[in-house]
Subunit: 176 residues, 2 copies
DNA sequence: ACTCACATACCGACTGGTTGGTATGTTCAT
DNA sequence: ATGAACATACCAACCAGTCGGTATGTGAGT
């Protein structure tokens, strides 16, 4: 595994634990087992690392939720419930292990770093978009009125992000 | 207004905008119009300021939601809806103006500062508790089964916190 | 009435360590 | 021999926190 990947992994872990501003480049390098020279060889700045980490997080989410077996269920309602069950199963252990990198980062930097904020927005809203098709089919199958697939998908993301905050505050896994 | 209050106000604004680690003591002092000496006279450390800011936030929320006219409605369902409407009305302008200080802080410091984390937990969960009575009455009035007032109250907080994140990420007020 | 001992509120220069970032190599596969 | 991938040493700015000092009370003893 390359130094770049090591740094990205370290960023994913440390930022989820201590936030972006609370994680220094030195700490990142120490945790990744690389030197500062390697860091600034691969990333022009700490901000660039933040953008790259958010992008890597998007890919990570795509790989995690793209290949699930629940996608093959012919019933769209079952597909949605399969997604929810899978997410529930992921919520275990320490907050740093199941919490969302993009959600954590965007809280701090939404005003100070537009580049990172946009990368986080792409990650969160992009993931929501991948859910829309199943939601739309499930809505049609059940004849539900009064909501759109888009707003429902965004609502699930809001509940998740908010649940992460509550579990960080309480040290518990209540949000599920 | 005392220097202490000025510092607390500055903390509320700057931390919501840039996060806790991203806000230096110098920046706090400059924004509050006080000196470093005044800061460390009133607060033993930056962490102590964080705790005090979260506590002040709890009081702020109590004052904001404690005296609403919707509380006097005899119908518990209307009381709940009144609360929701009031929260909706608060969500306007920039994210830093309607976003939750406790939710923002606890994301960063939940692992590094137990004292601040506990103060944030008290703020969020304490506010949820104030909603439980109305939720319980509304559940009873409507004959709803399958949920508890506590889990519903926490759910509303999760949706709010998550909505704040989405609006910070998108720069929009979609969460309502 | 006076003053002495003590407390509170605040000032701002200073310190030692940390920060993000840079300059200058070295190693090694092509 | 060239360029990508890394290492080492270093820097100026900034960080949280300290410290000696001033200004303004405040209550007790005389």
């Amino acid at each position: 595994m390359s130094a770049r990947t090591h740094i990205l992994d370290a960023a994913t872990e440390l930022v989820r634990r201590q936030g972006f501003a609370g994680t220094s480049v030195d700490a990142l390098c120490a945790h990744a087992g690389v030197t500062k020279g390697a860091f600034f060889h691969h990333f022009a700045s700490k901000e660039a690392l933040g953008v790259a980490a958010a992008d890597a997080w998007s890919e990570h989410a795509g790989a995690l939720f793209g290949g699930g077996e629940w996608h093959r269920d012919p019933d769209p309602v079952a597909r949605v419930l399969g997604y929810v069950d899978y997410r529930k199963a992921l919520i275990a252990g320490e907050p740093a292990e199941f919490t969302c990198l993009a959600g954590t980062m965007v809280q701090e930097v939404h005003e100070t770093s537009p580049a990172i904020r946009d990368a986080c927005r792409r990650s969160i809203f992009g993931h929501a978009e991948t859910l829309e098709a199943d939601f739309a089919a499930a809505i049609a199958a059940r004849g539900v009125v009064g909501t759109t697939a888009e707003s429902l998908a965004l609502h699930t993301q809001a509940v998740l992000q908010g649940g992460f905050i509550l579990s960080k505050a309480s040290g518990d896994t209540a949000p599920a």
